[in-house]
């Protein structure tokens, strides 16, 4: 599990790769939070193109980040989910609060 980031035009891109489950959730939370706290952004894009596996633990992690950024009125978007992650996101209505973008 790895979290990489880059900033482009006031947008923070968080690239999550590897496997996101209960075992890696703690690391994912703190790695994402340290990037989210590092500056002021207009929006955040979570890029999941490198995510090889995710179970519902990932939903908890993402919702936690959503709640955190909602206090700053910073929207978070999801991009490039795998078919499996997409299925879990639709099931949990995650896209209602973190819309999918291309």
């Amino acid at each position: 599990m790895q979290v990489n980031s880059k900033v482009y035009m006031d947008t923070l891109y968080l690239q999550i790769s590897g496997e996101l489950d209960e075992h890696t959730a703690h690391y994912a939370r703190s790695a994402m939070d340290s990037q989210l706290d590092a500056g002021e952004y207009k929006q955040v894009v979570v890029d999941l193109s490198g995510l090889e596996f995710m179970d519902s633990t990932g939903i908890g992690v993402l919702i936690g980040r959503y709640k955190k950024m909602k206090q700053k009125n910073t929207p978070i978007y999801i991009s490039n989910p795998s078919a499996q992650a997409d299925k879990i996101f639709k099931m949990t209505a995650l896209y209602d609060v973190m819309p999918k973008i291309n």
Binding site: E19, D21, E22, H23, R29, F53, D55, S56, T57, I59, G60, V61, I63, G64, A83, Q84, K87, I88, M91, T92
Partner: protein, 153 residues
């Protein structure tokens, strides 16, 4: 039920074993020549069940988790994930979407919902010690099965 092949794994409830368990089950099921989607569904469901054991069955200790898998000639995969932990008082409640007993830990409460969506059937029961048995089945789509010895084809 007649199984053409079965396996049982018992391991400690360390979270690092979630990845081991889902990969081991997936590797065992490959002999039925499933689609990639089917394998991903199975991996996800096993991950959810094992995570429940790690987080809820043994919240303050390390216990044993047993995963059993049986494969049938008709390309059905039966999986049991069993623990000897604290148990689930109310199965109906536990299965409700978004229900979690740990609301302060950023948990989605979607484990059983995901299992139900990714598998054909999910059944919960208790063992004699009050631990939980999660039994899941999935029928693979009709494809030619590949198995060493060709005994199932």
């Amino acid at each position: 039920m007649n199984y053409i092949n079965e396996m049982t794994l018992t391991f400690d409830s360390h979270s690092i074993n979630e990845g081991f368990a889902r990969s081991a089950v997936a590797a065992f099921c490959v002999q039925l020549n499933p689609t990639l989607d089917e394998i991903t569904d199975i991996k996800t469901a096993v991950s959810e069940a094992v995570t429940n054991c790690v987080v809820h069955a043994y919240p303050k200790s390390v216990g044993k988790i047993t995963v059993w898998v049986g494969l049938t000639k008709t390309r059905e995969i039966d999986i049991k994930v069993m623990d000897n932990g604290v148990g689930i008082p109310d199965f109906e409640k536990a299965r409700e979407p978004f229900y979690t007993t740990k609301p302060n830990e950023e948990r989605a409460g979607m484990g059983f919902t995901v299992m139900e969506s990714f598998m054909d059937n999910v059944n919960l029961s208790r063992n004699e010690n009050g631990g939980v048995i999660v039994e899941m089945t999935k029928s693979l789509e009709r494809r030619r099965a590949v198995m060493v010895g060709g005994e199932n084809d």
